[in-house]
């Protein structure tokens, strides 16, 4: 075997072994590396509820309640299996709206999540407003058909 063949083998094996090891370690730490927990994890008690945590999900449609004289706001965060009521005093980010992703940081108190910080989570869709409107129209036209079937 030539020297450079041995080096090729050695380096390939080295990089592969390192990649494998790193992926195993990252997999082991998987639960600690998550940025937020889902409402289902909170409901099932697998989220560390005694400490400051973040929960993430969709802002439920028609669940946002604002008061006119203060910044107090309450809304429900859902992952379509479970949902949690969140209360927050502060300025909401631009992208916060019903039906969009959100991450709230805070603590659970008597089954209500009291948030210190609310972050909007953007999805990966980019389109012009006209296209978005067309997609909504299609949705509206398609929905009744389902009922007839």
């Amino acid at each position: 075997m030539k020297t450079r063949h041995r080096r090729l083998l050695f380096i390939t094996a080295g990089v592969l072994a390192l990649t494998g090891a790193t992926l195993l370690v990252l997999n082991a730490f998987r639960s600690n590396l998550v940025f937020f927990h889902t409402p289902t994890e909170v409901a099932e008690g697998t989220a560390p509820l005694e400490q400051l945590i973040r929960i993430g999900g969709m802002v439920e449609e028609n669940s946002v309640e604002k008061t006119s004289e203060s910044l107090h706001v309450s809304f429900r965060v859902t992952d379509f299996d479970h949902s949690i009521t969140v209360t927050y005093d502060g300025v909401l980010p631009d992208l916060f709206r019903e039906g969009q992703g959100v991450v709230a940081e805070g603590r659970l108190r008597d089954s209500v999540f009291v948030a210190d910080r609310v972050l909007a989570k953007h999805d990966e869709n980019y389109m012009p407003p006209e296209v978005a409107a067309m997609k909504l129209d299609e949705k509206a036209q398609n929905t009744p058909k389902k009922y007839y079937k």
């Binding site: 450079r4 080096r7 090729l8 380096i11 080295g14 990089v15 390192l18 990649t19 790193t22 990252l26 998987r30 590396l33 998550v34 940025f35 937020f36 927990h37 889902t38 993430g56 300025v91 909401l92 980010p93 631009d94 992208l95 916060f96 969009q100 991450v103 910080r117 609310v118 972050l119 909007a120 989570k121 953007h122 999805d123 990966e124 869709n125 980019y126 389109m127 012009p128 407003p129 006209e130 296209v131 978005a132 409107a133």
Partner: protein, 257 residues
């Protein structure tokens, strides 16, 4: 063996120098043209986004530089592997030239993302898996550059740096898949996924133009820097002396009369 001849020539410092001198002017103009077209299209002609309004236009800088931050590292790692196995010196020079460029792309990606994050997410920075792994990439680039600066002896320098670069390559798949493996605040990929891109065609075209422009820009800068490194290393060799004195005569002839 005959097929390999052009490649073998290219990897010698002299032919690499000649070859890049010939393509660099062309590459420069093409890069400039594509970047200006992409930027104009992206910033003025592409429609506004239905959710983010005008702020989304930062993706025309943010996404290409984030891609290039990873691409440059992969090139650097490839060069390092070839250098370690076949001891081709030009590969070491090319990897060296890539490091600061890659670091700049990483910095641009982090900075633009942060500026976008403040109005959109409501924060400049979060320690989620995507942002953290990209920050680690920046430190890897810094580490590679610092290690090279710390070792004086050229032979050991090249080998040590190549090895460190190869160790860091494990971070690249982590950055790419972080948005799928973990819950992150950063959104998942819009383009590099199996299904159709979730970005409208009118925004996708300028984005791809910018990506192409950034790739060419990287090549342009890396070739330019590698030429500089060759001049620095081979300054005593006759071919370079001749080459450089020819150049001077040409320019003197052009401006003098």
């Amino acid at each position: 063996m005959r097929i390999w001849l052009p490649l073998q020539r290219l990897v010698s410092a002299r032919y690499f120098f000649e070859f890049s001198s010939r393509i660099l002017p062309w590459l420069g103009w093409v890069t400039l043209l594509i970047l200006l077209t992409g930027l104009g299209w992206g910033l003025f002609y592409a429609p506004t986004d239905y959710q983010q309004g005008e702020s989304y236009r930062i993706i025309f800088i943010h996404v290409p530089s984030a891609w290039m931050s990873m691409f440059a590292y992969m090139v650097m790692a490839g060069c390092s592997a070839i250098f370690l196995i076949w001891r081709i010196r030009i590969m070491d020079l090319f990897a060296t030239s890539t490091a600061p460029i890659g670091a700049s792309f990483t910095l641009i990606a982090l900075a633009t993302g942060s500026l976008w994050g403040r109005p959109m997410w409501g924060t400049y920075w979060v320690w989620d898996a995507r942002l953290t792994s990209e920050l680690i990439l920046l430190f890897l680039y810094f580490g590679v550059m610092a290690l090279r600066a710390a070792i004086d002896e050229p032979r050991r320098q090249g080998r040590a740096v190549a090895l460190l670069t190869l160790l860091g390559v494990v971070n690249i798949p982590v950055i790419h898949f972080s948005v799928e493996w973990w819950n992150t605040l950063h959104q998942p990929a819009s383009i590099t996924k199996a299904a159709a891109p979730s970005i409208h065609l009118s925004m996708l075209i300028p984005l791809l133009l910018m990506a192409l422009g950034f790739t060419l820009l990287y090549l342009y800068m890396a070739l330019q820097r590698t030429q500089g490194a060759i001049i620095e290393q081979e300054i005593d060799s006759t071919w370079l002396q001749e080459r450089l004195s020819n150049n001077t005569i040409e320019t003197e002839g052009g401006t003098g009369k």
